[in-house]
Symmetry: D2
Subunit: 438 residues, 4 copies
């Protein structure tokens, strides 16, 4: 293996909270057992190939600022191998258990569909080889159905059925590769599955297309015996004006409509939640209540900005609340926590990538520990228990089960002269309980 820009960097290790080493983990001790499981298995962190290896710092007003050795090379396949070397070297430095990728992150587009697929399989084999000597496994694979101009009007929901076919073909191969590499999930993010203007869009038709496409994926999963989860990643907008997979609740309705609610779960992202007008914990709690919590894309947005900034998380309270709701939901199972986050455009040095991951891993770990503490203390849960206790009575439980009719409820209420009094919601006290954790 060639030298990489990360070769000289030592592997980041756990040194504990008092460490002054900026490139050590202070809270993420993968072996620490919390609520019966080591942190490693609770968190299941993954490095995102695209943001860490592909992203070049360009923005809508600026040229690339990050110039990595594998970028802008004539021999695209060799560059892809060099990139893979660097990727696994970075995984070694960070010592995290998983990574994630799009087909296009790892291998270059070819001159034809056949060539693109061949490139992809070739580099996938190279990755398999790298994985054989690495501790880092594949959390999920996915297909990039949004960058190439052919997808500018959608992939599954393109008005042109030939593009639907092209996208389907691409996904078929991505699923094959994901399975071959031992991926534990397969993700669909419909970046272009939406519209820029309703004036040129038949939304009803496009939703039918989306339903069919997802059904094809689910059917194929069973056919090939892929045991991973199929995940949809909601996002409300950007690059589109409206994306069909708006948020967790919207995707639930979509899955129900096409009878896929037991086949597909959600990969939720903090920044996407924000763009939809939700907190991350809201999306997690919603998915959990609908049985759809699958995996997390860990990052943060900026509530003062209206686009997907995909920043590394740095807000301990937000992280704690997200982790608390993951714990309430019983954990992530086959899912994990994928750093779908990119260093800022001004953070041009390779070490910035390491700073960013170390900070984020530690923040999530610390948030998780705080959340576990909240669970163990049980005060928030007790307050909730108490607040809904009235529903435990025989007759109220029966009412909730549907055993009493409206007119009967009314007759009883009128007879009793029902006059229920409001009770304090105690929001500030509960917020204090949370704040005191920090």
């Amino acid at each position: 293996m060639s030298q990489t820009i990360f070769t000289a960097m030592p592997t980041v290790t756990y040194e504990g909270p008092t460490s002054q080493n900026e490139l050590a983990y202070r809270w993420y001790d993968p072996d620490q057992v919390v609520l019966g499981q080591p942190l490693r298995e609770h968190m299941r962190f993954a490095v995102a190939y695209w943001h860490s290896l592909v992203m070049n710092g360009a923005d809508p007003f600026g040229a690339p600022t990050l110039h990595r050795p594998w970028m802008d090379r004539d021999d695209a396949m060799q560059a892809a191998r060099d990139k893979a070397d660097a990727a696994f070297d970075l995984f070694r430095v960070l010592d995290l258990p998983f990574f994630t990728f799009h087909d296009r992150d790892i291998a270059p587009e070819g001159d034809s569909l056949g060539q693109s697929l061949a490139n992809f399989h070739t580099i996938a084999d190279y990755l398999a080889e790298k994985m054989s000597t690495s501790k880092t496994r594949l959390l999920w694979g996915t297909a990039n159905l949004f960058t190439h101009p052919r997808f500018m009007s959608g992939a599954a929901t393109n008005p042109d059925p030939e593009i639907f076919r092209y996208a389907a073909t691409t996904v078929k191969h991505c699923m094959d590769v994901t399975k071959a590499l031992g991926g534990e999930n397969y993700v669909l993010w419909g970046g272009r599955e939406g519209y820029d203007t309703l004036l040129n869009t038949d939304m009803g038709h496009e939703l039918e297309q989306a339903g069919r496409f997802l059904s094809l994926v689910v059917e194929y999963k069973h056919k090939i015996g892929f045991s991973g989860q199929i995940l949809i990643e909601p996002k409300p907008k950007e690059p589109t004006t409206h994306q069909y997979d708006f948020d967790a609740a919207t995707v639930f309705g979509f899955l129900k409509r096409f009878g896929l609610e037991t086949e597909v779960k959600l990969n939720l992202e903090a920044n996407h939640a924000l763009l939809a007008g939700h907190s991350f914990e809201h999306e997690i709690a919603t998915a959990a209540s609908l049985g759809l919590l699958g995996s997390l894309d860990i990052n943060r947005g900026d509530p003062l900005l209206g686009w997907d900034t995909d920043q590394f998380p740095n807000d301990l309270q937000a992280a704690t609340l997200a982790m608390y709701h993951v714990l309430l939901a019983g954990g992530l199972g086959k899912g994990g926590m994928n750093f779908d986050a990119k260093i800022r455009r001004q953070s041009i040095d390779p070490e910035d990538l390491v700073y960013a991951h170390v900070g984020a891993v530690d923040l999530c770990a610390r948030g998780f520990l705080k959340a576990a503490q909240l669970v163990e203390e049980g005060r928030l849960a007790a307050a909730l228990q108490d607040r809904y206790a009235g529903w435990n009575s025989t007759e109220n439980a029966a009412m909730l089960r549907g055993e009493v009719a409206l007119e009967q409820i009314a007759a009883e209420a009128e007879e009793k002269g029902l006059n229920p009094q409001p009770r304090s919601g105690r929001q500030e006290r509960l917020e204090n309980l949370l704040a005191r954790t920090f």
Copy 2:
């Protein structure tokens, strides 16, 4: 009937586009036949009792500015009758076919549940009497389950089952009265059905409660033979931090979950769409594509403000797009267009109420005429037809119907070396076609 503040005002009539009379309809000719139906039946305009008769101009930083004769009176029941007199006088002035109300708009809260219900039925009878000599009918009734402190933590979704019962009882009587007054729909807006903080909220439990409540309503509707539509009005937030009926797509998922998607439709509001991050036409098109388009609350928000301003509409292009999607959906059926809009706090004179409605009626009518023109010209539809034409081929239609498997699509694509080329979405040209209508 006593004199009212509207008695001296003449009935507003259609005078045509060249009229200089500020209190005449220039575009709303109820008898004009468009696309086979008179405008009156297309539009089905309604006056909202609460905004027009009850709203007093208070805001979070200001005291009431509107002082109507029926407000702040000692004899609340006589005040309610005077208010009803004024309401029907206003309906006479505006000459619109429908009105809408909450129980609490028409009758005062009593000292007990029994007294509140009695007040409500007494004034409902008075309304029935007024209606017998009025042309204005009831588009829909609804229950106010958000103003009284007992509902501060929700009605159907209150942690206290006694409040669920209280709310159910209230709705039962509102449905009875709506049926008795010939209402064509019954609406549920869950102003407090959501949360202020997840810290004190069991979202899963509350969603179960919401599902049960709606099921009770639907069961009761059938029991009493109410032939109107049951409608849910989505709103994402305010007064709550998060409301469960976020938007059309969310409510669809909710209805599917509880098996109510053929029983309940949507009452969509422009300002609520905006708060959810959608255009009004998006919500209409979404509802239409899901078979849920029921009725409209006509108003506008201010995209630069983050709350429900409920302004009277004044944007012709926005109105045209909304009407265009209503036409594409085949119209509103039993639904209508309810002016859920309030005059500004500084508009303190009774005539401001008339200015506001006349402008709004005319704007909607003109938007409808423009939309009908777009339909008749057919250029937008033709562009759409053309854009999706590829799906009409035998094999693509079969693919959409689910007759081809993923691996088969892939095999064919690879064999052909599929290389579909992007086609212009022509957004600017279509926007010009729209703009040229004005």
Copy 3:
């Protein structure tokens, strides 16, 4: 003094971080000396009369939920005295050094201007009496020029000059009372100084009015020898569509225009910053860079909601950043930290008020301690120093002072073939340094 709803509550005391007492201060030790000063003098906390004693829980969709003994009473003046008793009892419980008020918070509107002023002076005298036996002093007074309908179209910027006069008269008396009570600042918040629609607004004229009004205030301050600061509180909107005192930078321009930039400073509020699209620390840093930092209104908004939620702060990181910039600016001087925050509408019990303040005081104190730690460690400052070090060279300093012309800079650059290379902004590393503080 009569019994109040707070009489039975003990005074909250500092018990240290390990205390399990929910109604003790864990971080706010007023006597702890940090960076050379006791916390009490750094923080200068104030209780806001309006939110704590006047606010009744009403919202745009809901009736009052808080029913305090002094509300809705026939004898308004006795009620005002009872309210004052309760206020000082609350100050006693919280043991905070300051309070703040509007004229209308402490005394009821009368039937005439004369009566309103008389009421105000009468109760002001009562407050003076209360203060003689209380440790709590007046941070600032202000006039409520937004609640009464006469101010619906503005006070200083009202189209009607009689209302300008009425407002001026009111402010004159508020300044007199503030001085008499030993207030250390006088604040102007122009809740209605803006517009709902430009269609009925002459913005140029209104800005002239605003400039004149503020000049009157400044002139009068000097005339009566009031040694406190005059402060303007920026807010971008709500209740107006646009308020002229949009944010710190806007007010700076306004002050410069009327030559008042050395006479007036800013009272900055976190939630108002958010509504203007800024972080709180941005507003603090901006004010500091313009020499305008005066005082703070401590609260938080909800970035997912578009109105002034005025919540008690609960975000430690946000608090730390605000405090850090206060420290960078050299502290607040005569200003202080006023809890312009209200308990949620569902928090109906008096103890909720105490929970809320205790949590907020502690959060701010802890944030301050963290900020002081950042200052003492000096790593953020050192990074900044290093980043701008180039400007310290003789020739670059001269260039910044304006001693080199554009063409000269260009000539030198071209001669040298200047080719400066970008340097990493190190954002993630600096974020980690911040995060490691927690």
Copy 4:
């Protein structure tokens, strides 16, 4: 001149409102005299070189979709000439009087500062040659100080003074070229003049730098006898988290601080106004009231999206209100209306560029005609006159001039027992007057 992609297209001409030709002007008759001036001189339309000739359809999630013959060519200088040929051919097709450019739009970056400047002057000469046979003149020139990585942390406000020098050198040459080409204005847009995080930013220092930079520009303007206007283009954020030139009011304060308020005016953009939380007419009215209205960047944003979409305008009401406030301000003088708007990424055909401009020109022209009608009818102005009439009285005018002291106003008000009554703001009536224009 070589053939271009526009060569086959005929020049767009005015055909009047009944024309069915989609590529004709229906409202923009440049010779039509309105309010004493031909439309051509009122509007002063300009084509933006960057959006029309340089923009390639890439977005943060997608590769370029527009492939023009001059893009991605080996011989960058020949490509620049071909692009210029195409540009002037497009100007010929659109028949608009002005264009605008950045240095980098017209000429490629070289290997060194010297080479970059040489490239720029070479192509500027080529443009001069093209202009000699074209009717299209230069509205303004500007420097691109945001795309190249060297500017990633700012240009004038970069922490590195060498980059300040590089930027100054660039601007010097851009001013020279702008003057040489007869440009009527010179614009500064500070795309990177702001911060991504306050953690690595010394805002006070950077604002000093910005002040110095602008002073250099103003001094140089006088030195070379450039008679055009210097314009700053406000934008609140994007690509930065916060940009110092936030909005019109903020820039006013900045100019006052550095004594430049009579030297510099504003180039206002609709989409930037939206991102700052303002309407376009608000920014125009604000600039006008401060004497800073310079020129307009015509486009629109999407209020449901949080980034700079730079769409071609298509909202007649918004255009009318903007034009109305331009008319109230007395017109744009040396400024103009520059289409800082780009076709959508899916609009990949050259004719889409023509559709877009034709629609936008017509929309603005029609908005202007509507605005002129509003001015001529005078009803909005009369309502305003009436609303503020009270200030015309001798004593109120004296009060506004500052001839009465606060205590005197108060004494008179108290003596009179002032009791001013609110008057209706008539918002809905005025909105109707506006709506009736359409």
